[in-house]
């Protein structure tokens, strides 16, 4: 175990997979000479060379379409979208191609590819550059969507994503890169599509993922001082969605708060709440609460932006609401 940052954990997973498997290569904007705009691939270009760390033009459709084509031939491309907001420029290739080809051609097409994309708000980047559209992508069968909240999970899940034979969207949160945590050294793989209890508790279940795990943990610390023990279930993958640990926890606490950074409507919380009502209705002791982003495009002004984003106090308040 070593205590490293999320950035280092992701970088390590990529590096180790490239060392292990020559069919793995990286393509994307500024991944090479620049070293990645978030410095995740710093040093890769010098070590692996321009064939395996490919700087692309600003052409998201060509990046994702190109990754799909290369994956079909048996390579394992890791395509980097500088931010998830630019995934919309490649939406056809993500949604109408990557998510469909295996199914539509009766299982003939196999695309072992990963799309790494940075998302999230809170850095005053304005409406177009601050989105958390994770639920949008989780909507499509055929695409796997992963969004880790800890360095350990980031490493293990990215390795699994690269080894997966399906297209995986791997969503990183821009404000988590500096977060530190214990990460196992060497080959460490976590299966995709498995939720995890990150903090045990008995009074209420907080279901969350990615950046909101950090906020939920802080909220739980605060609640603990008042004698309220929150159990936190981290979804880690949005598709496939593993409801097992969620339901198990809920059947124990009978109360749930779902915390996501994206917009509330048609969001992760909507889906998880619906599943709890469907599958554990008899255990419901209070209406499930959702904490999410206000339904506005994120403004640039710092105060307004923070008003729109979920805050620790919102989580604490929602927990008290269900108790």
């Amino acid at each position: 175990m070593a205590r490293i940052t999320m950035r280092e954990a992701i970088s390590q997973a990529l590096w180790e997979e490239m060392e292990r498997d020559p069919s793995v290569f990286i393509l994307g904007e500024e991944v090479g000479v620049w070293g990645g705009t978030y410095a995740v691939t710093k040093g890769f270009y010098d070590h692996f060379g321009p064939e395996r760390v490919r700087d692309t033009p600003i052409a998201e459709a060509a990046i994702i379409g190109g990754a799909i084509g290369a994956a079909l031939t048996g390579t394992r491309p890791v395509a980097e979208l500088m931010t998830i907001n630019f995934a919309f420029s490649a939406m056809d290739h993500i949604v109408n191609e990557a998510a469909k080809l295996h199914y539509m051609f009766g299982g003939q097409f196999v695309l072992p590819m990963v799309i790494r994309a940075v998302g999230g708000g809170g850095r005053q980047l304005g409406a177009t550059h601050s989105q958390t559209p994770d639920a949008v992508f989780a909507h499509f069968p055929g695409l796997k969507v992963v969004a880790p909240g800890t360095p350990e999970d980031a490493k293990g899940l990215l390795k699994a994503a690269i080894r997966s034979n399906d297209p995986v969207l791997f969503i990183e949160h821009a404000t988590l890169y500096q977060v530190r945590g214990e990460v196992p050294e060497g080959d460490y793989v976590i299966p995709l599509g498995k939720s995890k209890v990150q903090r045990p508790g008995k009074d209420v279940t907080i279901i969350t993922y990615s950046k909101m795990l950090e906020l939920s943990t802080k909220a739980a610390d605060q609640l603990a001082k008042e004698g309220i023990e929150a159990e936190i279930v981290d979804l880690r993958s949005l598709r496939p969605l593993d409801m097992g640990p969620v339901l198990e926890s809920f059947k124990k606490t009978n109360r749930a708060v779902i915390v996501e950074e994206g917009w509330r409507s048609y969001g992760v919380g909507s889906e998880v709440a619906a599943r709890i009502y469907e599958e554990a209705f008899d255990y419901v002791d209070a209406p499930i609460q959702r904490v999410a982003q206000k339904e506005v495009p994120l403004p640039y002004n710092r105060t307004l932006e923070q008003m729109a984003l979920p805050q620790i106090e919102d989580i604490v308040k929602a927990v008290k609401e269900v108790l």
């Binding site: 600003i58 980047l125 640039y300 710092r302 307004l304």
Partner: protein, 320 residues
């Protein structure tokens, strides 16, 4: 061109330079958040270009937009206030550095998704064509933007429909850290227009008068109803792509050489050498630009934040 006009162009270039330098400082002080893309080195491009437009001509650009905003007639006050996220900013503090606009000045933004505003520019031109307005839409974008599909769709459509749009590529040699020849099949960007049968020219973007002349001709061509035209303006950004750019992709020597080719210095020398203005007259202009800049900073810093209720304003036009 009359002397006053020369002095006005010179003033705008100096004002942009000073506002950008202030912006860099305000960013370092943590008063500006998000991304900040400076226009330093490229002042002659939009100054020459936009000085050639008529009021009915629309301007639309990418996120490197502070200079363009000033050339379009936005005050330095509104620009700096927007950078500080104040309610007195051109987008009321909701847009920030990348999203300035003033539709009353026919400045249609400030767009942060690379290439996405090109089809919109075609649409602005379509609207004018449809309504038989005689406006020309001037669409500015970087060299990097010519590699995304949007560029090609927009150029093709503009030719097929004979739209009154002037495509202006600001070729500053890099899209972030990627040199043109590493990302574009042709390094003379205007060649891309040939594929769509759009006439083009290439001009030195460090020479404001050359830009101005080429722009006048190009705008006149488009206004005459002959369809779109393509201008490639060759320039260089003296600063990083945005604040905090480690600039590993270019040599300090290369930057230094271009800096010797400072568009403001070139123009200043021209004005003096051709006895259009004296050194002391130009110093006065510098002084005026400096006062305007300091006033803008003062104004922005003392302006109020947007009120909380503004968070939920402007989501829809029609209240439900």
């Amino acid at each position: 061109m009359k002397k006053e006009e020369h002095l006005e162009l010179y003033y705008q270039m100096v004002l942009i330079r000073l506002v950008e330098e202030q912006a860099a400082q305000l960013y370092q002080q943590g008063k500006i958040g998000g991304f900040l893309h400076l226009y330093i080195g490229q002042e002659a491009v939009s100054t020459g270009l936009i000085s050639a437009r008529q009021p009915q001509d629309r301007v639309i650009t990418a996120y490197r937009d502070h200079g363009v905003a000033i050339n379009c007639g936005l005050s330095a006050r509104e620009v700096v206030a927007e950078l500080l996220g104040k309610v007195t900013g051109s987008s009321k503090g909701k847009g920030g550095s990348m999203h300035m606009a003033d539709v009353n000045k026919n400045f249609w933004g400030g767009h942060a998704i690379v290439g996405a505003h090109l089809p919109i520019a075609a649409g602005l031109a379509l609207g004018d064509q449809y309504q038989k307005n005689d406006g020309v839409t001037i669409c500015m974008f970087g060299d990097g933007a010519t590699n995304i599909g949007y560029f090609h769709e927009a150029l093709n459509l503009s030719k097929v429909w004979n739209l009154p749009v002037l495509w202006v590529c600001e070729n500053n040699q890099y899209g972030m850290g990627t040199a043109v020849e590493r990302a574009s099949a042709v390094s003379e960007i205007r060649q891309k227009a040939e594929g769509y049968s759009i006439p083009s020219s290439r001009v030195d973007g460090m020479d404001v008068l050359a830009v101005r002349k080429a722009s006048e001709e190009a705008i006149a061509y488009v206004r005459s109803g002959k369809g779109p035209y393509f201008l490639e303006i060759v320039t260089y950004r003296f600063r990083g792509h945005s604040m905090g750019d480690p600039e590993r992709y270019r040599k300090a020597e290369e930057v230094r050489q271009w800096q010797e080719n400072d568009p403001i210095g070139i123009y200043r020398r021209y004005l003096v050498d051709h006895a259009i203005a004296t050194e002391s007259e130009l110093n006065e202009v510098d002084q005026r630009a400096n006062e305007t800049t300091l006033d803008a900073v003062q104004f922005a810093e003392s302006s109020p934040e947007p009120p909380a209720e503004m968070l939920f304003q402007h989501i829809y036009v029609d209240a439900d």
